[in-house]
């Protein structure tokens, strides 16, 4: 049994220790926007926020989030609304198949929260998600347009 905050809601899940957070979110909490890509933390499709920091949920044991706050793509913006990163993703028509994009959006949202105008070096070192459709050009463009709007 694990107690934590999921998308702002106090949540108790009956799940065995050692289970990756990913599967608890997808199966017990029935939030399937967070994706399974590799199970070894290599692709980033499963990225969520743990106390505001981007983590790869497929290698995050569920017991490690006890008492903490987890945000998934479903909880990134208030219900019915969109986070600025999601808006930019629509504006720039970033996704293709879209499967990796929940993870990319979560990673980018966490980065911009800390560093609203990241340098190329920071960006490339931080956003290491794999997109098989090859949307990197638009990911970069959307981040740049977000960074511009936050500049003084």
């Amino acid at each position: 049994m694990i107690d934590f905050t999921l998308n702002g809601i106090p949540t108790r899940l009956d799940v065995a220790d050692g289970t990756p957070l990913l599967w608890a979110i997808r199966e017990q909490a029935a939030l399937t926007g967070t994706k399974f890509g590799c199970g070894i933390g290599a692709c980033g499709a499963c990225t969520v926020h743990l106390d505001g920091v981007a983590v790869r949920s497929c290698v995050t044991p569920v017991e490690s989030v006890a008492g903490r706050s987890v945000t998934t793509i479903e909880g990134l913006a208030p219900a019915g609304g969109l986070h600025p990163v999601q808006e930019a993703w629509i504006e720039d028509q970033v996704p293709q198949c879209g499967y990796c994009q929940s993870g990319v959006i979560m990673a980018v949202a966490a980065l911009l929260e800390q560093d609203p105008a990241p340098s190329d070096e920071v960006l490339e070192a931080t956003i290491t998600n794999i997109c098989r459709c090859g949307t990197y050009e638009r990911i970069r463009g959307a981040i740049r347009s977000l960074a511009e709007t936050t500049e003084p």
Binding site: W23, I40, I73, L76, L82, C133
Partner: protein, 752 residues
């Protein structure tokens, strides 16, 4: 291809529905065909118009497509509904896997219909027989350069529809959706619907057609200023004669096609709400993990179930012919229990194969072919060997399918590139009639050819597991490792290229001998260049890993061979690679224009930063010509880095420019991961690679800047999902040669 021979009567259409007066039209040159119901019409329950295009009516009339009388759904063969409240609902028999085809096809329809784009809603056709998509065959035929005579086109469309229908295919692949279904299907349907709406308006306003204008989902009578919406006219329009040959707009009058429009599927994807196959959740559902024989063709010989069945949450160990699966309350429990097993598999006598023995077998097959005859006037002969490895698709969403068998019926949920064929696969696995199987197609987390028909092993497995746990539904998820090691791989190919050059270095002949199929690959192996004597031939080696279509299929290998080899010849002749190609393309003005445009974009011949090199390649595939220039450097660790790509694309018609751009950008990235990193190798009969660390992908940090320009052209519309891929590897290899003098003839590209 067809795995049964169902007659038309069994496809769910009534056998004798020949309301002859309605469909028995004029007889064409074939004597017994009619075009009348090529486009068919019907009334929508509650008012409105339904218009569909299913193919030509082909005598005898009972073979007619278009089940107006079928069960009162109001849905004709496919495609357009106009509701009384003025919505246009378009049903498109293709899947969405990020290529944006559904939005583009709907735009083509709306353009001809003169619909208000904001009122158009897009639906993916359900996997039912009458949504089989034969129009894509026309795209393939166009691509070969064989044109269907006008008088035969509709009969041809019908025949290809029937071929797809009887084979049970509703396929999305071959870069055909827009140029097939869009060009020959929905565009025509949109024009026909507009004409019927105009007829309805003429009757309503008692005005001649010449005084009526359709625009933005409204028809206006100029002199009186009266107008009515499509929705208001739709019910009457449904009673109008269906035009045989609706008038199409010339391209220069397009107002919607050619403008960038947002894709309909993106909002749900950024919200995390889009439902992919792997996301399907059903009440009472179980989860399954699976391990199939590591050696292709192997079978499960023994497994001690105890280590799994003693674990919490585990329901069952299921033994399949070629695999063992574990069913549990959750996927993590299932996968952990599976990992606790030590199943043994037979190896079908193939357990000693490795990449070296596979290569040797290919070489032996080519050796049997022997060398060709040299040209008598040759000043020099150049003869080289190229090689490309097996490649995995590695879609981001691993293979997954959910199945439920209950009450003599089977339901399947999965993302596929062909739900009709998937349904048939499920029926066979369930030992049920196709009519007892329901397929629910989902969003695809990438396709690239992995989710095409006849590669539905994951659906077969899910159905077999569902039998064991019936009536409960079960979701089967492949691990990334299972996915990497049980793909239908891009074929391993060895090619020997040879040319005889005259004294000026011009090729007198070109011979390509490769492993594969001359029928399937021969077109891609032929260079576009003006060479008198071109000879392509193939040898079929024993196949170890099962193979399938991989984004751009045969062009991905042969584009590399042809465009690398022509580059070798340019250097052999001491000529600039662009100039050398151009001199051999005077008979192909579209190629020439694309080549020159890409060179201009890249400032070909202009100054380069220290340590950079440029290379060019041009490939026509799927009706589209793409020329690409790569700019590369060599890193301190001797790896190749690509900084920039410039691509010039002639696809005839650009329907949705921002999506056309996305497809080329994505295709270049996809091709670059393969060119630089990807290689599936075999050891002891099994695939060695397991996951992304040993099958790495281009990421943000090493993705090149990609510039793309589309060349305005009045040529036939070409595909876009795949043509960006083939020039990538040769452009990079040619750039590496320009920079280092090393000619890399094996993929992935690795410097000595």
């Amino acid at each position: 291809m067809a795995d049964d021979d169902r007659s038309v009567e069994e496809t769910g259409r009534p056998a004798g529905d020949d309301d002859g007066a309605e469909t028995e039209g004029k007889r064409g040159p074939l004597g017994k065909w009619t075009r009348r119901a090529f486009i068919g019409t019907g009334a929508l329950a509650g008012g409105g118009l339904v218009l569909g295009v299913g193919g030509v009516v082909f005598a005898p009339n009972r073979m007619r497509i278009g089940p107006e009388s079928e069960g009162g759904t109001g849905q004709l063969t496919t495609w357009i509904k106009i509701t009384p409240d003025n919505d246009v609902i378009v049903s498109i028999p293709h899947c969405e896997m990020g290529q944006g085809a559904l939005t583009g096809i709907a735009m083509m329809m709306a353009e001809e219909l003169e619909a208000d784009w904001s009122l158009v809603r897009i639906e993916e056709s359900p996997p039912e027989d009458h949504f089989a998509n034969g129009y894509i065959v026309r795209a393939f035929v166009d691509e070969t350069g064989f044109s269907v005579p006008g008088w035969f086109q509709r009969a041809f469309d019908y025949a290809s529809y029937k071929a797809m229908d009887v084979a049970g295919m509703q396929v999305t692949g071959g870069s055909t959706s827009t140029r097939g279904t869009g060009q020959y299907g929905l565009r025509v349907a949109g024009a026909a619907a507009k004409e019927m709406l105009l007829q309805a308006a003429a009757a309503t306003f008692d005005a001649p057609l010449s005084e009526l204008t359709a625009r933005d989902s409204r028809i206006t009578h100029g002199p009186s200023g009266r107008s009515a919406t499509f929705g208001e006219l739709a019910t009457l329009a449904a009673t109008m004669k269906v035009p045989n040959d609706p008038v199409m707009k010339p391209r220069d009058q397009y107002r919607l096609v050619g403008t960038s429009q947002n894709r309909h599927d993106i909002p749900s994807k950024v919200a995390g709400a889009a439902q992919y196959g792997i996301d399907v959740t059903l009440p009472d559902m179980l989860y399954a993990a699976i391990a199939a024989s590591p050696v292709p063709g192997g079978q499960l010989s023994e497994v001690d179930e105890a280590p799994a069945t003693s674990m919490a949450g585990v329901h069952e160990v299921v033994r399949l012919t070629e695999a063992v699966a574990v069913v549990a309350d959750g996927y993590w429990q299932a996968s952990q229990a599976l990992a606790a097993l030590t199943p043994r598999f037979t190896d079908d006598g193939r357990g000693t194969a490795n990449t070296e023995s596979i290569y040797a077998a290919h070489v032996a097959a080519l050796d049997e072919k022997g060398p060709g005859q040299p040209s008598r006037d040759a000043a020099k002969t150049v003869s080289v060997e190229y090689r490309v490895p097996y490649l995995a698709h590695a879609t981001m969403e691993p293979m997954s399918a959910t199945a439920r068998i209950a009450n003599g019926r089977c339901e399947v949920w999965a993302g596929t590139q062909d739900p009709l064929n998937a349904r048939r696969t499920a029926a066979r696995a369930a030992d049920l009639d196709v009519s007892d199987v329901v397929m629910h197609n989902q969003q695809l987390g990438g396709g690239f050819g992995r989710r095409l028909p006849f590669t539905f092993d994951y659906i077969e497995q899910a159905v077999h597991v569902a039998k064991s746990v019936s009536p409960r539904p079960v979701k089967l998820i492949w691990s990334r490792e299972e996915d990497m090691q049980h793909d239908y791989y891009r074929p391993f190919v060895v090619a020997r290229l040879r040319t005889d050059l005259d004294a000026e270095g011009r090729p007198l002949s070109w011979a390509s001998r490769f492993t594969g199929s001359r029928l399937a690959d021969g077109g891609a192996a032929r260079p576009p260049y003006e060479i008198d004597d071109i000879d392509v031939s193939a040898a079929a080696p024993p196949v170890h890993l099962r193979t399938g279509s991989w984004r751009s299929v045969q062009y991905s290998q042969h584009g590399f061979f042809v465009e690398s080899f022509i580059d070798e010849l340019a250097h052999e002749a001491g000529r600039d690679p662009v100039e050398y190609r151009a001199a051999l393309l005077s008979h192909e003005p579209r190629h020439l224009a694309a080549l020159q445009r890409a060179a201009d974009m890249a400032d070909w011949g202009g100054p380069l930063a220290e340590g950079r090199g440029r290379g060019i390649a041009i490939v026509e595939a799927f009706g589209t010509i793409v020329a690409e220039v790569a700019e590369v450097s060599v890193e301190a660790d001797n790896s190749i880095r690509v900084h920039r790509f410039d691509a010039a694309v002639d696809c005839g018609l650009v329907v949705n420019p921002q999506q056309a751009l996305a497809q080329i950008q994505g295709g270049i990235t996809f091709g670059l991961s393969a060119a630089l990193y990807h290689e599936i190798t075999v050891r002891n009969g099994a695939v060695e690679q397991r996951s992304f660390p040993d099958y790495p992908m281009i990421q943000l940090s090493n993705a090149p800047r990609v510039n793309v320009e589309f060349i305005a052209s009045d040529a036939a519309i070409g595909g876009l999902g795949e043509p960006g891929v083939p020039p990538v590897a040769p452009a990079v290899a040619n750039a590496v040669f320009a920079l280092t003098g090393q000619r890399l003839r094996t993929l992935p590209l690795r410097l000595a």
